[in-house]
Point group: C2
Chain length 256, copies 2
């Protein structure tokens, strides 16, 4: 399966997303605005923030009461106890902490700072202190989007929800997949031949993560407002896998 050309198209002029918005509808408008129409095997890469916003995953810190555990941890890392309360409620484990930084294993399995909770690019009103949580079930969001596109446009697309995540050993964030559907998030190439016909030794490729990073090249971080990237031309096999396939069990992890 050789991909010879790939096009990445940032959908223009997407409106600010609000709770209850129909993302499939907004994306179809964006695709049309780009002068395109969806095709089979297109991959939609969605920034986590718009999915969280559409799903109403917004919490106002003013309504959060920190537990004693959250208060103690907040004092230790010098952060808002209400934020720490939310971080703990979204996490299964605190992986690392120091003043100003807390890295956790999110209940979705991904390891990231602040459980992915963030106030950037979140609309405030009056004295609001709104923050945005990761989607409840990003794989399900991806499946629903693919399904909607099939029902409305008759096309079989794939979808990835990405977030910008820090990582071990390396400076700088990279786009990683927190959800996916319609493609093998983890693509198993073991057994394929190398250039000289011998069997490849390694090769499970983090396909959804690589798509997440590719999409991130166009999404940018701040005021650019390009949360959806259409990836066209990729050749990949079908799959029922979600992004959970990318989670490496601790006992198999030699890179920590």
């Amino acid at each position: 399966m050789k991909t010879s050309r790939l096009q990445l198209i940032a959908l223009p002029d997407l409106p600010m997303v609000r709770p209850g918005d129909d993302l499939a509808d907004l994306i179809l408008q964006g695709v049309a605005g780009a002068g395109e129409a969806l095709r089979d095997s297109d991959v939609l890469v969605l920034a986590q923030k718009i999915v969280s916003k559409a799903n109403g995953r917004i919490v106002d810190l003013r309504g959060v009461t920190p537990s004693a555990r959250a208060a103690a941890l907040a004092a230790e890392v010098d952060k808002d106890p209400r934020l720490i309360e939310l971080i703990l409620s979204e996490s299964t484990e605190v992986v690392a902490k120091r003043p100003g930084v807390i890295v956790v294993a999110h209940r979705l399995g991904i390891v990231l700072a602040n459980a992915g909770i963030d106030a950037s690019n979140v609309e405030q009103e009056g004295d609001s202190e709104r923050v945005l949580l990761l989607p409840e079930d990003p794989d399900a969001d991806c499946r629903a989007l693919c399904q909607a596109m099939h029902e409305r446009q008759g096309v079989r697309v794939a979808a990835v929800i990405n977030d910008s995540v820090g990582r071990a050993w390396r400076n700088g964030t990279m786009g990683l997949a927190i959800g996916s559907a319609g493609l093998p998030a983890l693509w198993d190439l073991r057994g394929e031949p190398d250039l000289y016909g011998r069997e490849l030794q390694v090769s499970e490729v983090g396909l959804a993560d690589q798509l997440a990073s590719a999409g991130s090249l166009l999404q940018g971080e701040g005021s650019q407002g390009q949360p959806v990237v259409l990836v066209r031309g990729l050749r990949f096999p079908g799959s029922e896998q979600g992004a959970g396939a990318l989670l490496r069990p601790a006992e198999q992890d030699m890179f920590r």
Copy 2:
């Protein structure tokens, strides 16, 4: 700096690369073969293997004499002592080991299995047991390539050398940058405004790593033979940085 469309073009019909080959020349032939010509701000993403091959970083295990340390480690991880000798000679630290796997900090700073040494896609002759090491100085290789393209074509391109690397917490390899030139490997967006005009909190982006992963979507792993990907349309600031900017010092690393 908003990138609205990105094209990734795998250069077709590159010949097998051999020691001493002029990569710039091969790449220009490939660009022409794709019906294209290089433009300012094009980014060339090169698979590590072709750079290593052109640089003659091929070692025949038959000529390697393992040290006592290598022999002991080889017994422990159940690998060829001559390969372990090469891995140790290329590394500054053994990060993790178990039977069948050894993860090291390469002297270039990147953490990866087997010090990136691999026999896949390496041509053998007779009883040869050739393996390929990472380039000596991939940043310098990238700078030289950019310089050659400027001299021969009058264009200012950027370059990334990538490799498929395992990582902490996640299954599957991702393309990461082992060398770069002509772009900020680590792109500092701190201080930029968010959608609502507030300052972004985090944002140093691993630009070269994201390009490495994007390129990897087309390079594939095995017999596809598409080691060079032309990335066109990316907007980025100039930079003198190399890929070393992506190395996170241990004392700042909370993700291990």
